[in-house]
């Protein structure tokens, strides 16, 4: 343990002793965290942080956890919004938004994807046009988590059809509570509706709600996306609310449950390898030598993937440059999910045809079988992942671009579908 860490731990402990109380209101407590800088210690001291290196954050959180003190809600799109605003936002943005992100009072959503541009986010066609002294936005966004509850949206929109694809985009913060913004749930094949479609019809954005310069939208979005990928990697650790008795804990539990609602089926999407051995024993399938082989193949894949992630983490902790093993997690997860669904089918036999309460484990098995295909699509398809790994990790030639240099209006694209 470095001296620095010890000092920080002492400081936190002291501050907590003086300030933490389970009898506080959740927002009240978080306002203390914002003012003291202990909520997001790695943020700038000027903006609710303490300028500490991010590597010290786990130690600080550990001190909070030791005494059951709550931290700030590091889940959902609001953290992506904060990261983007800290990097590219104006002082007005920081003043207006950061504190309510720390308190959790504002819900945010991300308006990037469109029906015509899934893998190709920079192909967005939603348009923002300056009319009088306001931006007027028209278009359709999709795959938007929590749009119906959001106060603010992170919007990527095209401000110039004559410039190239990547230079014609700008980035805005849009007020979701206005007549021009309509959200509609998007039902998935597994029956959940975790996402929304958002229809923007003459929706308005004030000029100073633009983030970054005009035409820099793609560059700003890259910051959001980078943080999104990190968040996805640590999705599993989100879901847990702190254990504790008292009103502040109840408040946090409600908050967590609301935030996590759209992600309820994510464990099933990943294939629920954790259930395999118990299911096999319970059904007797474990006695079937052919199924044993399939289980063992799945476990080999699963364990190797898990150990690969551990290896990457260990290297990172040692401060080594990231090796190729660090880039394979998402691909391996797709393979595991697919293999797990296959093995669950074998184990369940005829029961694999059933759903809801007729399905084993009250529908959990059925949910796996209609959710796993999302693993290899959501957050970048396997195909896009392989393109990226081959180009960035293996240094293989880039795919020829057909859309780089010409005006966006001349690039072939999907008609609205």
């Amino acid at each position: 343990m470095s001296m620095n860490e010890e000092q920080v731990r002492n400081e936190v402990r002291e501050w907590l002793k003086e300030n933490w109380s389970p009898n506080l209101d959740l927002v009240e407590w978080r306002l203390k965290l914002a003012d003291s800088g202990w909520g997001m210690a790695n943020w700038p001291a000027e903006w609710y942080g303490r300028d500490l290196p991010v590597s010290l954050v786990p130690a600080i959180e550990e001190e909070f956890n030791k005494i059951g003190a709550l931290t700030i809600p590091k889940s959902g799109i609001r953290m992506l919004a904060a990261a983007t605003i800290l990097n590219h936002g104006s002082d007005m943005h920081k003043e207006k938004f950061l504190k309510r992100i720390i308190t959790g009072e504002d819900v945010w959503c991300q308006l990037f994807s469109e029906p015509g541009s899934g893998s190709d986010l920079a192909g967005a066609t939603t348009k923002a046009v300056m009319v009088g002294n306001k931006w007027v936005v028209n278009g359709q966004k999709v795959w938007t988590t929590s749009a119906h509850k959001a106060h603010w949206g992170l919007l990527l929109a095209r401000t110039d059809m004559d410039d190239t694809k990547h230079r014609g985009l700008s980035y805005f913060i849009i007020d979701m509570n206005q007549p021009g913004v309509e959200t509609q749930p998007l039902m998935q094949m597994n029956g959940h509706a975790s996402f929304n479609q958002v229809f923007l019809t003459d929706a308005e954005v004030l000029p100073d709600f633009q983030v970054g310069e005009l035409g820099d939208g793609w560059q700003v979005a890259t910051t959001t996306l980078m943080h999104e990928r990190r968040a996805a990697d640590s999705l599993r650790s989100w879901g847990q609310a702190s254990k504790g008795d008292g009103p502040i804990y109840d408040q946090e539990r409600v908050e967590t449950e609301t935030t996590m609602q759209p992600y309820k089926w994510y464990p099933q999407r990943a294939g629920r390898v954790d259930l395999i051995m118990d299911r096999a024993k319970e059904t007797g399938a474990i006695k079937d030598p052919a199924i044993r082989q399939e289980i063992a193949k799945l476990m080999t894949l699963h364990k190797s993937a898990e150990w690969t992630a551990r290896r990457a983490r260990a290297a990172q902790e040692q401060g080594k440059p990231q090796g190729p093993e660090g880039s394979l997690g998402k691909l391996a997860a797709s393979n595991v999910a697919r293999a797990a669904a296959k093995v669950h089918t074998l184990i369940s036999g005829a029961d694999a045809m059933l759903t809801g309460e007729d399905s084993p484990m009250d529908g959990t098995i059925a949910e796996i079988l209609v959710s796993f295909p999302a693993s290899s699509i959501a957050g970048g398809t396997d195909e896009i992942q392989k393109n990226i790994i081959s180009e960035r990790v293996l240094n293989m030639p880039k795919e020829t671009r057909f859309d780089a240099d010409k005006p966006f209006k001349d690039i072939p694209r999907n008609t609205v579908s």
Partner: protein
């Protein structure tokens, strides 16, 4: 062995395909699958009367058209393609064959003409709570009373069992000699002591029921002979039929997916122009075409009385199970996010692929059957 469709067969297929495209578009499939019944008498009667689908493979002497399994498999392939919501597989495949091979002359004459005309729908109650298609795991035993039999126990995964007019039940009988034999029983769907529960099935186009029998009156419709062999034939034909139904669905998914990738643009180009998409589409073609060959061959081989038919039927089922599921997985993947939504039709076939994968036994189960038939 003749192994090619005749011109008449091809014409029949084209006609049927156009007919089903018109009568059973996915809007109609979605409407019907959301109902408990799963199909509508009037709509089904219209289709069936015009085309005589339930009659096709029933011998002429029992009021059918007397065609072979190959012809019926054309019907099944096209139904699998269109996901037609109708009590066809239950009545005209499973039950009709059980009666044809297992019932006495009296009951063939009684039931087959009505099934052929479509006036009677029937379900075969074979599997029990394990869902296993394997006679040795069957436990239901009929109790003989003076003139009739009584059934107690549970049959599950009974296709269309919640709606059929007639239930044909497979159960054991204790003979006077003390030995056991398998026999077929008919039970009226409204019989006292029979409780029918519709099961929640992921594939809403394939309705399954759990039938609970409590001292239900039943008529024995088989002769004194054990029906094990008859049930084996019924099972083989049903596996071949299902394989053809499956390749019909797989082919449709493959075609739709190909059309989608040709139309869809990303990065300023058709996604069909990416080499990986091209190769995946080729793999899908190979998966489906090989499975089709096995399904077609098995039907023709059955009609020709080929000796290795048990292994052939299992090859067809194993091949179709894997090809259909793999095609469905690829289809969702190649559609991307949109393919995972409820509004997109891909999931209808995806779910049919999943239920067909295990219905009548998984690929693993059929591979073991193959090996048993080759290694005796």
């Amino acid at each position: 062995m003749k192994f090619s469709f005749s011109e008449e067969q091809e014409e029949f297929r084209s006609f049927l395909r156009r007919f089903l495209e018109e009568k059973s578009p996915t809007t109609e499939v979605r409407r019907l699958m959301a109902t408990d019944a799963g199909w509508e008498k009037e709509q089904w009667r219209k289709v069936n009367t015009e085309l005589g689908l339930t009659a096709i493979a029933i011998p002429e002497e029992y009021g059918g058209q007397g065609f072979g399994l190959s012809e019926q498999c054309i019907v099944l392939e096209e139904m699998g393609r269109s996901l037609l919501c109708a009590p066809y597989f239950s009545s005209a495949v499973l039950t009709a064959n059980a009666i044809l091979y297992g019932a006495s002359e009296e009951y063939k004459k009684k039931y087959l003409p009505e099934i052929a005309s479509g006036d009677l729908t029937a379900s075969l109650a074979f599997t029990e709570e394990t869902g296993a298609w394997d006679i040795s795991s069957m436990s239901m035993c009929a109790k003989k009373t003076e003139n009739t039999y009584r059934l107690t126990g549970v049959k599950s995964f009974v296709l269309d069992g919640h709606m059929s007019d007639l239930i044909i039940v497979l159960a054991k009988v204790n003979d006077n000699s003390g030995s056991q034999r398998l026999a077929l029983f008919s039970v009226d769907s409204t019989a006292t002591g029979l409780t029918k529960n519709l099961l929640n099935s992921t594939d809403q186009t394939r309705k399954l029921a759990k039938l609970m029998f409590t001292d239900v009156e039943a008529t024995c419709i088989s002769s004194e002979d054990d029906v094990t062999e008859a049930m084996q034939t019924t099972f083989l034909k049903s596996c071949i039929g299902l394989s053809n139904e499956m390749v019909g669905g797989a082919e449709r998914l493959r075609e739709d997916t190909l059309e989608y990738v040709k139309m869809r643009m990303q990065f300023g180009r058709s996604i069909a122009s990416f080499q990986v998409t091209k190769h995946k589409a080729t793999d899908m073609l190979a998966d489906v075409e090989l499975a089709k060959s096995a399904a077609y061959y098995a039907a023709a081989a059955f009609d020709d009385g080929e000796s290795d038919i048990a292994a052939t039927a299992s090859i067809a089922k194993a091949s179709a199970s894997e090809a259909y599921m793999q095609t469905a997985i690829n289809a969702v993947q190649m559609h991307g996010g949109i393919g995972f939504t409820w509004d997109n039709d891909t999931h209808l076939w995806f779910k049919r692929a999943k239920s067909s994968e295990v219905f009548l036994g998984t690929a693993d189960f059929h591979r073991e059957l193959m090996m048993q038939s080759w290694d005796q």
